[in-house]
């Protein structure tokens, strides 16, 4: 399932706020590990934040192999 623009936008806003980076520095196809300078545990932290926001539960394995915002948004959209 392809994520809606709104879902993607909300994820980018939350990631920017969570890691305190200017929103305009983030684009959907960014490798978030690299752009945000985070490790996989910090990515899991972000996932928790996103779960609270979207009121969903994502098992850890959903994030396996995901490193860009667009794919992350697709995974979240599938559970909305």
């Amino acid at each position: 399932m392809t994520a809606s623009k709104q879902t993607l936008e909300e994820i980018l806003n939350l990631a920017a706020a969570h890691f305190k980076v200017p929103r305009e520095k983030l684009t959907p196809d960014d490798d978030f590990f690299k752009t945000l300078g985070i490790d996989s545990l910090q990515a899991l932290d972000l996932l928790t934040r996103l779960e609270h926001h979207f009121h969903i539960e994502l098992p850890d394995y959903e994030l396996q192999g995901v490193s860009d915002f667009r794919t992350l948004a697709d995974r979240i959209q599938a559970r909305l």
């Binding site: 490790d39 996989s40 545990l41 899991l44 932290d45 098992p59 850890d60 192999g65 860009d68």
Partner: protein
């Protein structure tokens, strides 16, 4: 603890453990903050024996190989027990590999049976290589009702009534085939015997004993040698309890320490750092007065535990910090990759010793470990009882290649006599790691002689295995090296992979090429990515069969280019 000298195989020791402590809890499994399973040793037996019987009825017996691809959970251990009960050989595979890599290792190991989680099986069954698999039976855990299992059986239904036949093995028989890495061209399947495991268990528990009531938090993947030993075999033969968490989210990991009053945990350096970061942030949030008081208490603890840890004293002095870990934590284990001494010291000063160790799959779980007599943050500890270490060809600083001899060293690499002969020489396993002993018998590591890196997540990455991700790159030729192999750093930090490029004559390094490299790199799992590239002015030296002569090429690069020439991606 069971007297392991009495046993010839893991199946026998585990079988006796279930009868020895029937009423002790052996397994707790939680998903986030929801407890899913709690089993006593007697409950464990009740669940495992019908599975062993079903395996028997499916003609699974002596030396048959069964692979497990699962995240850490109770069914992992129950399945492994049933395999050992039937005299089988376990092939624990890394659940984080791709489906294609899983299929490659299943083929290489010649596993006949597979026990796998549903979401992983779905990916494997959809893989193009799936049609060639040679599996006889597949058991899938946690499959939704009505799911298409592509010919597999539901693990939960795969059970039969009646006592299964127990098949004993000899000490020299194979217990496990564990892949130390090498999912690319040359899988490295370490063949480990029952003796390897029984002896390793004996030496580890001599320094860090388990007993009924001890709770070990199992976070490292159970397919990994460390968790297999300290998150399964060790606790079980001592009547202790293993706690599984189905998530690695830091907040639930922290919560599990408290909820289950964890005694021991093994962590990769990355998680350790994460814990340190969290604690430091909490300290910073304290009012100036409270923070001042806390740091005074930490300094006092440090002064009074210089010679040896005093767990009870530290728990009282720094009770709030210890309560944050459940109040029962005795030690954390780490190793596998470089750990900053400041991180180790930070925890030790809080009264939570982190036992840093050094090991490799080829030699069981661990070769050296900090014995805390006294604690040292700058070494990987002393050789464990029964492990003999030697430094080969030491230089003027006494640094040389570490070699190991002892009952924990693997038998051989599966189906690779050439690699075995290169690795085990006259009964000594050459590790490829550079080290030296200090005056107190502690081993210090100084980098690697071999072309590989160990990530902060504890994964071994061999450059050769990821080169095919750059197949067809529009350059004349390319090769990947570990930076510390090209430029020996005499330290274990700053590990990264470097892509060495040789351009076509008159080719410029264009932005399109850089973008292509970035794109290819991004398709790799984050821990396998190259950190930078380097342009080579000469053609690569090659053998008659056109293989790159890596040593010679590394030597050429070393002569003309330094680490500073690497352009970060």
């Amino acid at each position: 603890m069971l007297n392991l000298d009495q046993y010839t195989c893991l199946g026998e020791a585990l079988r006796d453990a279930l009868d020895r402590w029937p009423n002790e809890t052996c397994l707790i499994e939680a998903d986030r903050d929801r407890e899913k399973t709690r089993l006593t040793y007697s409950d464990f037996k009740e669940v495992a024996l019908p599975l062993a019987r079903a395996l028997e009825d499916a003609e699974f017996g002596s030396d048959d190989r069964a692979a497990i691809i699962m995240s850490n959970q109770s069914k992992w251990l129950i399945s492994a027990y049933a395999v050992f009960y039937r005299g089988g050989v376990l092939v624990p595979l890394d659940y984080k590999l791709t489906a294609a890599e899983h299929l490659q290792l299943l083929t290489h190991s010649k596993a006949k049976f597979l026990i796998v989680e549903y979401y992983l099986w779905r990916a494997i069954a959809q893989s193009p290589e799936f049609k060639n698999h040679k599996l006889k039976k597949v058991l899938v855990t946690e499959a939704p009702l009505g799911a298409d299992l592509a010919g597999a059986h539901r693990w939960e239904d795969f059970r039969r009534k009646g006592d299964p036949g127990f098949i004993p093995r000899e000490r020299e028989d194979v217990a496990c085939i564990v892949y130390s890495s090498g999912t690319g061209g040359r899988p490295k399947g370490c063949v480990l015997t029952h003796e390897n495991y029984l002896e390793q268990c004996k030496s580890l528990t001599a320094w860090y004993p388990f007993w009924p009531g001890v709770r070990y938090l199992s976070i490292l993947p159970t397919n990994h040698a460390i968790d297999f030993m300290v998150g399964f075999i060790g606790p079980f033969v001592c009547g202790a309890c293993v706690v599984h968490l189905r998530t690695l989210r830091p907040e639930f990991v922290r919560d599990a320490f408290v909820r289950y009053k964890i005694t021991y945990v093994a962590l990769v350096p990355m998680i350790l750092k994460n814990l340190e970061r969290g604690l430091r942030a909490k300290f910073d949030e304290l009012s100036a007065g409270k923070r001042f008081f806390l740091y005074r208490m930490i300094a006092l603890n440090k002064a009074l535990t210089r010679k040896q840890p005093k767990v009870g004293f530290s728990r009282k002095l720094l009770s709030q910090v210890h309560q944050g870990f459940g109040g029962e934590l005795r030690a954390m284990f780490t190793g596998g990759a470089f750990v900053e001494p400041s991180t180790l010291q930070f925890f030790y000063d809080l009264g939570i010793p982190v036992a840093n160790g050094y090991g490799l799959t080829e030699a069981g779980t661990s070769l050296t470990l900090n014995d805390l007599k006294p604690f040292r943050a700058d070494t990987v500890g002393k050789p464990l009882p029964g492990v003999e270490l030697r430094i080969l060809n030491p230089d003027s600083d006494n640094i040389g290649e570490v070699a190991v001899h002892g009952k924990t060293v693997m038998s051989h690499y599966l189906d690779d006599p050439e690699l075995t002969a290169q690795t085990i020489v006259d009964g000594w396993l050459v590790t490829g790691d550079l080290g030296r002993f200090d005056g107190n018998g502690h081993l210090q590591l100084f980098g690697r002689k071999k072309n590989m890196i160990v990530t902060e997540g504890g994964k071994n990455i061999y450059p050769e295995d990821i080169e095919n991700a750059f197949d067809g790159l529009p350059v004349k030729e390319y090769c990947i090296f570990a930076a510390n192999y090209l430029w020996p750093a005499k330290s274990l930090g700053r590990e990264m992979l470097v892509l060495l490029l040789r351009l076509e004559p008159n080719q410029e390094f264009a932005d399109a090429l850089k973008q292509e490299i970035i794109l290819r790199n991004r398709r790799l799992p984050d821990f396998k990515r190259v950190g930078g590239y380097l342009l080579c002015a000469k053609d690569f030296p090659r053998t008659a069969s056109m293989k790159i002569k890596r040593n010679e090429l590394a030597e050429d690069v070393r002569k003309v280019l330094g680490r500073a020439a690497v352009v970060e991606l």
